[in-house]
């Protein structure tokens, strides 16, 4: 390669082709119809590319949210924890309400 600019152009072309190839693989992976795996390992790689792309989008979203706290818990993780605890408390409330209903029934029988 005599010309340095030509070298850079080849390098840019290589990346552009790879990028286009990647985007095409992601698109094919997303549209993969049921049974596409019969077509061989390429279909698997395309499915995988779509999976990786989805994860990349989620990562971008997390970074855009501004989101990791110094101790490593992102607001999304914390929100999940709050939701889980909220559900457990609601479950406990349900149990207590059910117990109260049973107690009311027994108390009523005692009074009769």
């Amino acid at each position: 390669m005599k010309n340095f600019v030509e070298l850079l152009a080849a390098w840019a072309l290589f990346h552009e082709s790879a990028d286009e190839g990647w985007k095409a693989a992601v698109a094919r992976g997303r549209e993969q119809t049921p049974g596409a795996m019969n077509e061989g390992p390429e279909a698997f790689v395309e499915g995988l590319a779509a999976l990786v792309d989805e994860e990349k989008e989620r990562l971008k979203q997390r970074l855009a949210d501004g989101s990791t706290t110094p101790d490593g818990d992102s607001p999304i993780d914390l929100a999940e924890q709050v939701e889980r605890l909220g559900f457990e408390i609601a479950e406990l409330r349900g149990r207590m309400e059910s117990l109260q209903a049973s107690i009311d029934g027994i108390a009523d029988r005692l009074q009769r």
Binding site: P34, G35, F44, G47, F87, R93, E97, S98, A101, D104
Partner: protein, 463 residues
């Protein structure tokens, strides 16, 4: 005058005699229909299974329930039996409403008309263990998850049939005596009648406490709250006890009522595929699954949602099992019998080394004959042949593995009820691909395999 103990012993003896007479009658009927053993093996098993189903239906609630529990145990019973017991008609004559009202008053300490705004005397359903009536909430209620149910919301009031617990306890006591006798016979002892009956007793006890069902429904609703196509009726705990379960009443069509007109209003194919995905998510991601899906427990709402009911029988999977199940499914879906077999062994299918290769060849043939037939994959046919093959090789099936196979067959039935032309194997492929890819890319797996991969790469480079 006879003492109560003597009286109940007498009643039990009478019931025991009736059961014995009916059982003997059914057995004789089966022998006659089998032409004293002249009919072939499979047909003979089918006849016996049919007689067993009819016997359970005639003997009433506890036997119907017992039959239903047996129908999810392919590890114990022949495949023909479990698929026949699946057809058990769980419809019995309704209990008079006055008795149901009395049961509600006893459980909740107030009569049905003061608890609910509008309690309907006409039952919505009458099954072996419980009866369901429609009503309306008198006051608004905040369920465990989801929005508040306003006053006037339609609810389904499920009430245990009065006396059912005593009836089942009496039948179980008789069963224990007979199981102990059967245990003395060598050939029958290998069925472990005593342990089996105790297992069934445990399952029945769980089903007879309606709160268990409510708790699982709540968890299921929470785990699928991100899925707009899944609906689970919310439980009204304020009016629920061990014997009464009140939950939101959801309108819809049962799967056997779904005709072309109903299908026209919804995207039936997408819903059928989604139904299979929901099942996969239960088994492979959440670690528990509805193991008693049948047309009465699942219906389609006019909004095109799948509504799940009756979480009486639930299977569970551990983290390690989930990985292996994913591999077995991928093996079946892609026709890789060696993979399916390897991970089936990891799930506890105890195959002696000497039998591995013949069993693998057999599975390969079954997969090609039943599952990889374009557009006509037949999971049920595969399961039937697979379980028969295991029985032929005298390979013991772990309970969880059997339950899973049965559940897969049910999912195929459910999907076909929604969209008859669905090929479940084809529909499952994208899910299986994703699952395997996710497993392959797990950091801990990559870390584990990195050293070996580095060594292999170096060897290749330096060769």
């Amino acid at each position: 005058m006879a003492s109560p103990t003597a009286f109940s012993a007498e009643v039990a003896a009478g019931r025991g005699r009736r059961i014995a007479v009916r059982a003997a009658g059914s057995l004789l009927g089966a022998v006659w229909r089998c032409r004293f053993g002249w009919v072939g093996g499979q047909r003979r098993r089918e006849i016996l299974a049919e007689q067993a189903r009819v016997f359970c239906e005639r003997m009433g609630s506890s036997f119907i329930k017992l039959g239903q529990l047996a129908s999810v145990r392919p590890d114990v019973f022949a495949p023909e039996t479990i698929f026949e017991l699946e057809r058990l008609q769980d419809r019995v004559a309704p209990v008079p409403t006055a008795r149901i009202r009395a049961a509600i008053a006893r459980e909740l300490g107030a009569d049905a008309d003061s608890v609910f705004a509008d309690f309907e005397d006409q039952p919505l359903a009458a099954a072996s263990v419980a009866q369901v009536h429609r009503a309306r909430l008198r006051r608004a209620y905040r369920p465990v998850s989801g929005p508040v149910l306003p006053a006037g919301t339609r609810v389904a009031v499920k009430v245990l049939r009065p006396g059912i617990e005593a009836e089942i306890a009496a039948d179980l006591a008789l069963g224990r005596r007979w199981a102990a006798r059967l245990n003395r016979f060598g050939r029958l002892a290998r069925w472990r009648p005593v342990e089996l009956l105790e297992e069934f007793a445990g399952m029945l006890a769980r089903e007879l406490d309606l709160r268990n069902e409510g708790r699982i429904a709540d968890r299921f609703a929470r785990d699928f709250q991100d899925d707009p196509l899944v609906r689970v009726p919310k439980v009204v705990w304020r009016h629920s006890t061990r014997r009464v379960l009140v939950s939101e009443h959801v309108e819809g069509w049962r799967l056997n009522e779904l005709g072309p007109a109903e299908r026209a209003g919804i995207d039936a194919r997408a819903l059928a595929v989604h139904g299979a995905d929901v099942f996969m998510r239960q088994v492979l991601v959440l670690g528990y699954f509805h193991a008693d899906l049948h047309p009465a427990n699942l219906f389609v709402t006019p909004q095109g949602q799948l509504c799940f009911l009756d979480f009486g029988i639930v299977g569970t999977t551990t983290h390690a099992q989930r990985g292996a199940i994913a591999q077995v499914l991928a093996g079946l879906v892609y026709g890789d019998s060696a993979r399916a077999l390897r991970y089936s062994r990891a799930l506890g299918l105890d195959i002696p080394d000497s039998q591995v290769e013949p069993v693998r060849r057999h599975i390969e043939r079954l997969v090609h004959d039943h599952l990889l037939v374009p557009d006509t994959a037949d999971v049920r046919g595969f399961a039937l042949a697979f379980l028969s093959m295991l029985a032929d090789y005298r390979i013991r099936i772990p309970a969880g593995y059997g339950l899973l196979i049965k559940a897969l067959v049910t999912v195929e039935g459910v999907s076909h009820a929604i969209y008859p032309d669905l090929d479940l194997m084809t529909a499952a492929r994208p899910f299986a691909t994703r699952l395997i890819a996710e497993q392959l890319m797990r950091p801990e797996r990559l870390r584990r395999r990195l050293a070996a991969a580095r060594t292999a790469a170096l060897e290749e480079l330096l060769a």
